[in-house]
Protein backbone atom coordinates (compact mmCIF):
# COMPACT_ATOMS: atom_id res chain seq x y z
CA UNK A 1 0.00 0.00 0.00
CA UNK A 2 2.82 2.39 0.85
CA UNK A 3 5.55 3.13 -1.63
CA UNK A 4 7.89 5.43 0.26
CA UNK A 5 10.78 7.08 -1.55
CA UNK A 6 13.79 8.05 0.52
CA UNK A 7 14.87 11.59 -0.37
CA UNK A 8 17.25 14.25 0.90
CA UNK A 9 16.23 17.52 2.56
CA UNK A 10 16.96 19.46 -0.63
CA UNK A 11 14.97 17.03 -2.76
CA UNK A 12 11.88 17.32 -0.55
CA UNK A 13 11.97 21.10 -1.06
CA UNK A 14 11.93 20.64 -4.83
CA UNK A 15 9.22 17.97 -4.59
CA UNK A 16 7.07 20.22 -2.40
CA UNK A 17 7.43 23.08 -4.90
CA UNK A 18 6.59 20.81 -7.84
CA UNK A 19 3.53 19.34 -6.11
CA UNK A 20 2.33 22.73 -4.87
CA UNK A 21 1.96 23.87 -8.47
CA UNK A 22 -0.80 21.32 -9.07
CA UNK A 23 -4.26 22.33 -7.77
CA UNK A 24 -5.18 18.66 -7.32
CA UNK A 25 -2.36 18.01 -4.86
CA UNK A 26 -2.79 18.32 -1.12
CA UNK A 27 -0.41 17.82 1.74
CA UNK A 28 -2.01 15.18 3.95
CA UNK A 29 0.45 15.38 6.81
CA UNK A 30 4.00 14.85 8.01
CA UNK A 31 4.68 11.86 10.25
CA UNK A 32 7.67 11.46 12.53
CA UNK A 33 8.86 8.01 13.56
CA UNK A 34 11.76 6.85 15.68
CA UNK A 35 13.60 4.00 13.97
CA UNK A 36 16.33 3.52 16.58
CA UNK A 37 19.43 5.14 15.10
CA UNK A 38 17.42 7.55 12.92
CA UNK A 39 14.40 9.78 13.09
CA UNK A 40 12.28 9.35 9.97
CA UNK A 41 10.19 12.24 8.72
CA UNK A 42 7.62 11.04 6.17
CA UNK A 43 5.64 13.41 3.96
CA UNK A 44 2.25 12.25 2.65
CA UNK A 45 0.74 13.97 -0.38
CA UNK A 46 -2.62 13.35 -2.05
CA UNK A 47 -1.93 13.78 -5.76
CA UNK A 48 -5.25 12.91 -7.42
CA UNK A 49 -8.14 10.48 -7.29
CA UNK A 50 -6.85 7.28 -5.69
CA UNK A 51 -3.23 8.44 -5.82
CA UNK A 52 -0.82 9.38 -3.05
CA UNK A 53 2.91 10.00 -2.93
CA UNK A 54 5.04 9.40 0.13
CA UNK A 55 8.56 10.73 0.68
CA UNK A 56 10.82 10.13 3.63
CA UNK A 57 13.75 12.12 4.96
CA UNK A 58 16.00 10.05 7.23
CA UNK A 59 17.68 12.09 9.96
CA UNK A 60 20.53 10.34 11.83
CA UNK A 61 20.38 10.97 15.58
CA UNK A 62 23.05 13.37 16.82
CA UNK A 63 22.24 13.66 20.49
CA UNK A 64 19.37 16.12 20.01
CA UNK A 65 21.23 18.49 17.69
CA UNK A 66 19.45 17.45 14.51
CA UNK A 67 18.11 20.16 12.25
CA UNK A 68 16.29 19.89 8.92
CA UNK A 69 14.77 22.24 6.37
CA UNK A 70 11.04 22.82 6.62
CA UNK A 71 8.44 23.08 3.86
CA UNK A 72 5.90 25.32 5.65
CA UNK A 73 7.14 28.33 3.63
CA UNK A 74 5.95 26.41 0.54
CA UNK A 75 2.91 24.65 2.09
CA UNK A 76 1.36 26.62 4.98
CA UNK A 77 -0.50 23.37 5.73
CA UNK A 78 2.76 21.90 7.04
CA UNK A 79 3.06 24.35 9.94
CA UNK A 80 1.37 22.35 12.72
CA UNK A 81 2.79 19.01 11.56
CA UNK A 82 6.35 20.38 11.45
CA UNK A 83 5.99 21.85 14.92
CA UNK A 84 4.65 18.55 16.19
CA UNK A 85 7.49 16.52 14.69
CA UNK A 86 9.89 18.98 16.27
CA UNK A 87 8.43 18.89 19.77
CA UNK A 88 7.70 15.15 19.81
CA UNK A 89 11.05 13.95 18.41
CA UNK A 90 13.45 16.78 19.25
CA UNK A 91 14.38 17.44 15.60
CA UNK A 92 14.67 21.17 14.96
CA UNK A 93 12.92 22.33 11.82
CA UNK A 94 13.97 25.66 10.31
CA UNK A 95 11.43 28.51 10.23
CA UNK A 96 9.03 27.03 12.82
CA UNK A 97 9.14 27.61 16.59
CA UNK A 98 9.03 23.91 17.37
CA UNK A 99 6.28 24.23 19.98
CA UNK A 100 2.56 23.91 19.42
CA UNK A 101 0.80 21.37 21.63
CA UNK A 102 3.23 20.71 24.47
CA UNK A 103 4.34 22.79 27.42
CA UNK A 104 7.95 23.98 27.32
CA UNK A 105 8.89 21.68 30.20
CA UNK A 106 8.29 18.51 28.14
CA UNK A 107 11.07 17.40 25.83
CA UNK A 108 10.68 14.98 22.92
CA UNK A 109 8.31 12.42 24.51
CA UNK A 110 8.20 10.12 21.47
CA UNK A 111 11.98 9.95 21.04
CA UNK A 112 13.49 6.69 22.18
CA UNK A 113 16.90 6.07 23.63
CA UNK A 114 19.39 4.96 20.97
CA UNK A 115 20.30 1.31 21.60
Amino acid sequence: MMNVKIVTQQEIQDIARRLKASPETRLITIVGTDAGANIEVTYFFHTGVGRTEEYRVVVPKQGGNEEIEGISHIWPAAYVAENEVSEMFGVKIKDVPGRFFLHGSITAPLRRKTP
Partner: protein
Protein backbone atom coordinates in the same frame (compact mmCIF):
# COMPACT_ATOMS: atom_id res chain seq x y z
CA UNK B 1 -4.95 52.27 19.51
CA UNK B 2 -4.31 48.54 19.39
CA UNK B 3 -5.37 46.24 22.19
CA UNK B 4 -5.13 42.52 22.81
CA UNK B 5 -8.06 40.26 23.63
CA UNK B 6 -7.77 36.69 24.84
CA UNK B 7 -10.51 34.71 23.09
CA UNK B 8 -10.63 31.53 25.13
CA UNK B 9 -9.36 29.05 26.29
CA UNK B 10 -12.77 28.97 28.00
CA UNK B 11 -15.34 30.66 25.81
CA UNK B 12 -19.12 30.12 25.70
CA UNK B 13 -19.14 29.55 21.93
CA UNK B 14 -16.80 26.56 22.14
CA UNK B 15 -17.37 23.37 24.04
CA UNK B 16 -13.66 22.66 24.34
CA UNK B 17 -10.62 24.79 25.17
CA UNK B 18 -8.71 26.64 22.45
CA UNK B 19 -7.09 30.05 22.71
CA UNK B 20 -7.05 32.82 20.15
CA UNK B 21 -4.97 35.85 21.00
CA UNK B 22 -6.57 38.67 19.02
CA UNK B 23 -4.81 41.95 18.34
CA UNK B 24 -7.58 44.48 17.82
CA UNK B 25 -7.79 47.85 16.16
CA UNK B 26 -11.17 49.04 17.37
CA UNK B 27 -13.63 46.31 16.38
CA UNK B 28 -11.40 44.84 13.66
CA UNK B 29 -9.06 41.90 14.28
CA UNK B 30 -5.62 42.81 12.98
CA UNK B 31 -3.66 39.76 14.05
CA UNK B 32 -4.39 36.30 15.45
CA UNK B 33 -2.31 33.82 17.35
CA UNK B 34 -3.66 30.29 17.70
CA UNK B 35 -2.76 28.20 20.73
CA UNK B 36 -3.82 24.60 21.26
CA UNK B 37 -2.73 21.77 23.51
CA UNK B 38 -5.02 22.34 26.49
CA UNK B 39 -6.46 18.82 26.22
CA UNK B 40 -3.36 17.05 24.94
CA UNK B 41 -3.47 13.52 26.36
CA UNK B 42 -0.46 11.91 24.68
CA UNK B 43 -2.63 9.28 23.01
CA UNK B 44 -0.14 8.56 20.22
CA UNK B 45 2.26 7.25 22.84
CA UNK B 46 -0.50 5.21 24.46
CA UNK B 47 -1.22 3.55 21.10
CA UNK B 48 2.11 1.71 21.41
CA UNK B 49 0.31 -1.22 23.03
CA UNK B 50 -1.77 -4.23 22.06
CA UNK B 51 -3.24 -3.56 18.63
CA UNK B 52 -6.52 -5.20 19.66
CA UNK B 53 -7.06 -2.51 22.29
CA UNK B 54 -6.28 0.32 19.87
CA UNK B 55 -9.81 0.51 18.41
CA UNK B 56 -11.16 1.04 21.94
CA UNK B 57 -8.62 3.79 22.54
CA UNK B 58 -9.12 5.49 19.18
CA UNK B 59 -12.85 5.89 19.85
CA UNK B 60 -11.97 7.99 22.84
CA UNK B 61 -10.06 10.59 20.82
CA UNK B 62 -13.33 12.22 19.82
CA UNK B 63 -16.82 11.94 21.25
CA UNK B 64 -18.55 12.73 17.96
CA UNK B 65 -16.73 10.85 15.20
CA UNK B 66 -15.89 7.81 17.33
CA UNK B 67 -16.89 5.32 14.65
CA UNK B 68 -14.69 7.05 12.08
CA UNK B 69 -11.70 6.96 14.40
CA UNK B 70 -12.04 3.29 15.20
CA UNK B 71 -12.76 2.41 11.55
CA UNK B 72 -9.71 4.32 10.33
CA UNK B 73 -7.53 2.75 13.02
CA UNK B 74 -8.78 -0.72 12.08
CA UNK B 75 -8.23 -0.08 8.34
CA UNK B 76 -4.65 1.05 8.99
CA UNK B 77 -3.82 -1.89 11.26
CA UNK B 78 -5.56 -4.32 8.89
CA UNK B 79 -3.30 -2.82 6.20
CA UNK B 80 -0.19 -3.80 8.18
CA UNK B 81 -1.58 -7.35 8.49
CA UNK B 82 -2.93 -7.51 4.89
CA UNK B 83 -6.24 -8.58 6.38
CA UNK B 84 -9.45 -8.46 4.32
CA UNK B 85 -12.64 -7.96 6.27
CA UNK B 86 -15.90 -9.69 5.37
CA UNK B 87 -18.39 -7.90 3.14
CA UNK B 88 -21.04 -7.89 5.84
CA UNK B 89 -18.64 -6.18 8.26
CA UNK B 90 -17.83 -3.60 5.57
CA UNK B 91 -21.52 -2.83 5.00
CA UNK B 92 -22.19 -2.49 8.75
CA UNK B 93 -19.18 -0.23 9.21
CA UNK B 94 -20.27 1.98 6.30
CA UNK B 95 -23.86 2.29 7.60
CA UNK B 96 -22.52 3.34 11.00
CA UNK B 97 -20.21 5.92 9.40
CA UNK B 98 -23.10 7.54 7.56
CA UNK B 99 -25.32 7.51 10.66
CA UNK B 100 -22.51 9.26 12.48
CA UNK B 101 -22.27 11.92 9.78
CA UNK B 102 -25.98 12.59 10.26
CA UNK B 103 -25.74 13.21 13.98
CA UNK B 104 -22.50 15.17 13.73
CA UNK B 105 -23.84 17.50 11.04
CA UNK B 106 -27.03 18.08 13.03
CA UNK B 107 -24.84 19.00 16.00
CA UNK B 108 -22.65 21.32 13.93
CA UNK B 109 -25.62 23.04 12.30
CA UNK B 110 -27.29 23.43 15.70
CA UNK B 111 -24.19 24.92 17.30
CA UNK B 112 -23.68 27.35 14.40
CA UNK B 113 -27.27 28.52 14.73
CA UNK B 114 -26.88 28.86 18.49
CA UNK B 115 -23.77 31.00 17.95
CA UNK B 116 -25.89 33.53 16.06
CA UNK B 117 -28.63 33.45 18.69
CA UNK B 118 -31.14 30.92 17.29
CA UNK B 119 -31.56 28.75 20.35
CA UNK B 120 -34.90 27.33 19.19
CA UNK B 121 -33.38 25.98 15.97
CA UNK B 122 -30.45 24.64 17.99
CA UNK B 123 -32.92 22.67 20.12
CA UNK B 124 -34.73 21.47 17.01
CA UNK B 125 -31.44 20.17 15.58
CA UNK B 126 -30.71 18.38 18.83
CA UNK B 127 -34.20 16.89 18.92
CA UNK B 128 -33.58 15.45 15.46
CA UNK B 129 -30.13 14.29 16.47
CA UNK B 130 -31.68 12.40 19.37
CA UNK B 131 -33.41 9.91 17.06
CA UNK B 132 -30.09 9.17 15.36
CA UNK B 133 -28.62 8.38 18.76
CA UNK B 134 -31.62 6.13 19.44
CA UNK B 135 -30.77 4.15 16.30
CA UNK B 136 -27.18 3.85 17.52
CA UNK B 137 -28.45 2.56 20.83
CA UNK B 138 -30.66 -0.01 19.10
CA UNK B 139 -27.95 -1.22 16.71
CA UNK B 140 -24.78 -1.05 18.81
CA UNK B 141 -26.03 -0.84 22.38
CA UNK B 142 -24.30 2.49 22.90
CA UNK B 143 -25.32 6.04 22.07
CA UNK B 144 -21.94 7.75 21.87
CA UNK B 145 -18.98 5.37 22.03
CA UNK B 146 -20.33 2.54 19.89
CA UNK B 147 -17.58 0.00 20.50
CA UNK B 148 -18.46 -2.32 17.61
CA UNK B 149 -15.24 -2.10 15.60
CA UNK B 150 -12.45 -4.58 16.12
CA UNK B 151 -9.41 -5.27 13.97
CA UNK B 152 -10.81 -7.72 11.44
CA UNK B 153 -14.45 -6.67 11.44
CA UNK B 154 -17.29 -5.75 13.77
CA UNK B 155 -18.81 -7.30 16.88
CA UNK B 156 -22.52 -6.69 16.29
CA UNK B 157 -24.71 -7.67 13.42
CA UNK B 158 -27.59 -5.85 11.75
CA UNK B 159 -30.36 -8.39 11.23
CA UNK B 160 -33.40 -8.11 8.91
CA UNK B 161 -35.61 -6.52 11.62
CA UNK B 162 -33.02 -3.93 12.46
CA UNK B 163 -32.46 -3.26 8.75
CA UNK B 164 -36.17 -2.49 8.41
CA UNK B 165 -35.99 -0.20 11.46
CA UNK B 166 -33.11 1.69 9.86
CA UNK B 167 -35.07 2.12 6.63
CA UNK B 168 -38.09 3.43 8.61
CA UNK B 169 -35.73 5.75 10.47
CA UNK B 170 -34.48 7.10 7.11
CA UNK B 171 -38.04 8.10 6.18
CA UNK B 172 -38.56 9.85 9.51
CA UNK B 173 -35.24 11.70 9.60
CA UNK B 174 -35.58 12.74 5.95
CA UNK B 175 -38.91 14.41 6.67
CA UNK B 176 -37.48 16.16 9.72
CA UNK B 177 -34.37 17.27 7.83
CA UNK B 178 -36.54 18.70 5.05
CA UNK B 179 -38.42 20.75 7.67
CA UNK B 180 -35.11 21.91 9.11
CA UNK B 181 -33.70 22.72 5.68
CA UNK B 182 -36.70 24.86 4.74
CA UNK B 183 -36.40 26.77 8.00
CA UNK B 184 -32.68 27.47 7.50
CA UNK B 185 -32.47 27.95 3.75
CA UNK B 186 -35.47 30.27 3.58
CA UNK B 187 -34.57 32.34 6.61
CA UNK B 188 -33.61 35.84 5.56
CA UNK B 189 -32.07 36.56 9.00
CA UNK B 190 -29.81 33.51 9.04
CA UNK B 191 -28.68 34.04 5.46
CA UNK B 192 -27.88 37.71 5.97
CA UNK B 193 -25.99 36.98 9.21
CA UNK B 194 -23.86 34.28 7.61
CA UNK B 195 -23.34 35.40 4.01
CA UNK B 196 -20.04 37.10 3.35
CA UNK B 197 -18.78 36.33 6.87
CA UNK B 198 -15.56 34.35 7.36
CA UNK B 199 -14.52 34.11 3.72
CA UNK B 200 -11.94 31.39 3.09
CA UNK B 201 -10.96 31.74 -0.55
CA UNK B 202 -10.32 28.71 -2.71
CA UNK B 203 -6.61 29.48 -3.00
CA UNK B 204 -6.17 29.78 0.79
CA UNK B 205 -8.17 26.56 1.21
CA UNK B 206 -5.73 24.84 -1.16
CA UNK B 207 -2.67 26.36 0.51
CA UNK B 208 -3.78 25.16 3.94
CA UNK B 209 -5.01 21.81 2.55
CA UNK B 210 -8.26 22.16 4.48
CA UNK B 211 -10.66 19.24 4.46
CA UNK B 212 -14.32 18.36 4.75
CA UNK B 213 -17.19 20.85 4.56
CA UNK B 214 -14.69 23.70 4.99
CA UNK B 215 -12.95 22.78 1.74
CA UNK B 216 -16.19 21.92 -0.06
CA UNK B 217 -17.73 25.20 1.10
CA UNK B 218 -14.81 26.98 -0.59
CA UNK B 219 -15.26 25.24 -3.95
CA UNK B 220 -12.67 22.48 -3.43
CA UNK B 221 -14.38 19.20 -4.39
CA UNK B 222 -12.33 17.04 -2.03
CA UNK B 223 -14.09 14.15 -0.33
CA UNK B 224 -12.13 11.04 0.64
CA UNK B 225 -15.21 8.91 -0.11
CA UNK B 226 -14.72 9.71 -3.81
CA UNK B 227 -11.03 10.74 -3.90
CA UNK B 228 -9.78 7.53 -2.26
CA UNK B 229 -12.80 5.24 -1.74
CA UNK B 230 -12.62 2.89 1.23
CA UNK B 231 -14.96 0.15 2.46
CA UNK B 232 -17.97 0.16 0.08
CA UNK B 233 -17.91 3.73 -1.16
CA UNK B 234 -16.71 2.76 -4.64
CA UNK B 235 -19.99 0.83 -5.10
CA UNK B 236 -22.26 3.68 -4.03
CA UNK B 237 -23.65 6.56 -6.05
CA UNK B 238 -21.99 9.56 -4.52
CA UNK B 239 -20.86 12.98 -5.65
CA UNK B 240 -19.08 15.55 -3.45
CA UNK B 241 -21.35 18.41 -2.42
CA UNK B 242 -19.65 21.69 -3.24
CA UNK B 243 -20.64 25.30 -2.61
CA UNK B 244 -18.77 28.26 -4.04
CA UNK B 245 -19.66 30.89 -1.43
CA UNK B 246 -16.50 30.35 0.70
CA UNK B 247 -18.29 31.80 3.76
CA UNK B 248 -20.06 30.59 6.90
CA UNK B 249 -23.30 30.23 4.93
CA UNK B 250 -21.67 28.00 2.29
CA UNK B 251 -20.12 25.73 4.93
CA UNK B 252 -23.46 25.39 6.71
CA UNK B 253 -25.36 24.68 3.49
CA UNK B 254 -22.82 21.97 2.59
CA UNK B 255 -23.62 20.29 5.91
CA UNK B 256 -27.38 20.63 5.38
CA UNK B 257 -27.13 19.09 1.89
CA UNK B 258 -24.90 16.30 3.19
CA UNK B 259 -27.65 15.23 5.59
CA UNK B 260 -29.70 14.11 2.60
CA UNK B 261 -26.66 12.56 0.96
CA UNK B 262 -26.06 10.42 4.06
CA UNK B 263 -29.72 9.35 4.18
CA UNK B 264 -29.47 8.36 0.52
CA UNK B 265 -26.27 6.38 1.17
CA UNK B 266 -27.86 4.51 4.10
CA UNK B 267 -30.78 3.61 1.81
CA UNK B 268 -28.30 2.28 -0.75
CA UNK B 269 -26.37 0.34 1.89
CA UNK B 270 -29.09 -1.45 3.87
CA UNK B 271 -30.29 -3.65 0.94
CA UNK B 272 -26.67 -4.80 0.45
CA UNK B 273 -26.96 -6.74 3.73
CA UNK B 274 -29.54 -9.11 2.24
CA UNK B 275 -28.26 -12.59 1.57
CA UNK B 276 -24.80 -11.99 3.01
CA UNK B 277 -23.49 -14.70 5.37
CA UNK B 278 -23.43 -13.70 9.05
CA UNK B 279 -19.64 -13.54 9.19
CA UNK B 280 -18.69 -10.46 11.14
CA UNK B 281 -14.97 -10.75 11.78
CA UNK B 282 -11.99 -12.22 9.96
CA UNK B 283 -9.09 -13.63 11.95
CA UNK B 284 -5.55 -12.78 11.01
CA UNK B 285 -2.80 -15.36 11.02
CA UNK B 286 -0.09 -12.71 11.09
CA UNK B 287 0.88 -9.87 13.40
CA UNK B 288 1.15 -6.21 12.32
CA UNK B 289 4.34 -5.69 10.34
CA UNK B 290 5.57 -2.77 8.25
CA UNK B 291 3.91 0.55 7.46
CA UNK B 292 0.38 1.28 6.31
CA UNK B 293 -1.98 4.21 6.38
CA UNK B 294 -5.69 4.69 6.01
CA UNK B 295 -7.94 7.64 5.31
CA UNK B 296 -11.64 8.07 5.92
CA UNK B 297 -14.03 11.01 5.60
CA UNK B 298 -15.54 11.90 8.99
CA UNK B 299 -18.19 14.65 9.18
CA UNK B 300 -15.47 17.27 9.73
CA UNK B 301 -13.20 16.08 6.92
CA UNK B 302 -10.38 13.70 6.11
CA UNK B 303 -9.02 11.60 8.97
CA UNK B 304 -5.65 9.89 8.54
CA UNK B 305 -4.06 7.09 10.54
CA UNK B 306 -0.51 5.88 10.01
CA UNK B 307 0.36 2.51 11.55
CA UNK B 308 3.70 0.77 11.92
CA UNK B 309 3.86 -2.78 13.20
CA UNK B 310 6.90 -4.60 14.52
CA UNK B 311 5.73 -8.21 14.20
CA UNK B 312 4.52 -8.18 17.75
CA UNK B 313 1.21 -7.56 19.49
CA UNK B 314 2.37 -4.05 20.40
CA UNK B 315 2.30 -1.39 17.70
CA UNK B 316 5.51 0.51 17.02
CA UNK B 317 3.87 3.80 16.06
CA UNK B 318 0.40 5.17 15.41
CA UNK B 319 0.03 8.68 14.05
CA UNK B 320 -3.38 10.34 14.00
CA UNK B 321 -4.04 13.35 11.78
CA UNK B 322 -7.54 14.54 12.47
CA UNK B 323 -9.82 16.91 10.58
CA UNK B 324 -9.38 19.85 12.95
CA UNK B 325 -5.61 19.34 12.79
CA UNK B 326 -5.88 20.21 9.09
CA UNK B 327 -8.55 22.91 9.43
CA UNK B 328 -7.38 24.66 12.63
CA UNK B 329 -4.47 26.67 11.14
CA UNK B 330 -6.78 27.96 8.37
CA UNK B 331 -8.72 29.88 11.05
CA UNK B 332 -5.91 32.44 11.20
CA UNK B 333 -6.19 33.94 7.66
CA UNK B 334 -9.99 34.00 7.93
CA UNK B 335 -10.19 35.73 11.29
CA UNK B 336 -7.60 38.36 10.32
CA UNK B 337 -9.55 41.42 9.23
CA UNK B 338 -12.95 40.31 10.52
CA UNK B 339 -15.10 41.94 13.21
CA UNK B 340 -14.74 40.76 16.79
CA UNK B 341 -18.46 39.91 16.80
CA UNK B 342 -17.89 37.44 13.94
CA UNK B 343 -15.03 35.48 15.53
CA UNK B 344 -17.40 33.15 17.39
CA UNK B 345 -19.57 32.25 14.42
CA UNK B 346 -16.53 31.84 12.12
CA UNK B 347 -14.77 29.44 14.47
CA UNK B 348 -17.92 27.42 15.14
CA UNK B 349 -18.59 27.18 11.39
CA UNK B 350 -15.33 25.20 11.20
CA UNK B 351 -16.96 22.69 13.58
CA UNK B 352 -13.75 22.53 15.64
CA UNK B 353 -13.07 19.42 17.69
CA UNK B 354 -10.27 20.29 20.06
CA UNK B 355 -10.15 16.79 21.52
CA UNK B 356 -9.25 15.64 17.99
CA UNK B 357 -6.85 18.54 17.43
CA UNK B 358 -4.80 17.89 20.56
CA UNK B 359 -5.26 14.14 20.93
Amino acid sequence: MRSTIQFGPQHPVWIEPLRLKLTMDGEIVKDVELEAGYVHRGLEKKFEWDYNKGAYLSERICGICTQHHSTCYCLAVEGTMKLEITRRAAVIRTIMLELERLHSHLLAIGLTLEAIGFENLFMLCFRNREIVLDVFERTTGNRVLHGINIVGGVTRNIGPEMAKEIMDFCDLIEKRCHDLESMIAHSYTIRERMKGVGVLTKQVALDYSVVGPIARGSGVPFDVRTAAPYLLYNELKLKPIVEEGCDVWARSIVRVRELFQSIDLIRQLVPLLEGLPDELAAKSKTLPEGDAFARVEPPRGELFYFARGKKSKEMDRIKVRTSTYANGPALVPVIKGCHLADVGVITISYDPCIGCFDR
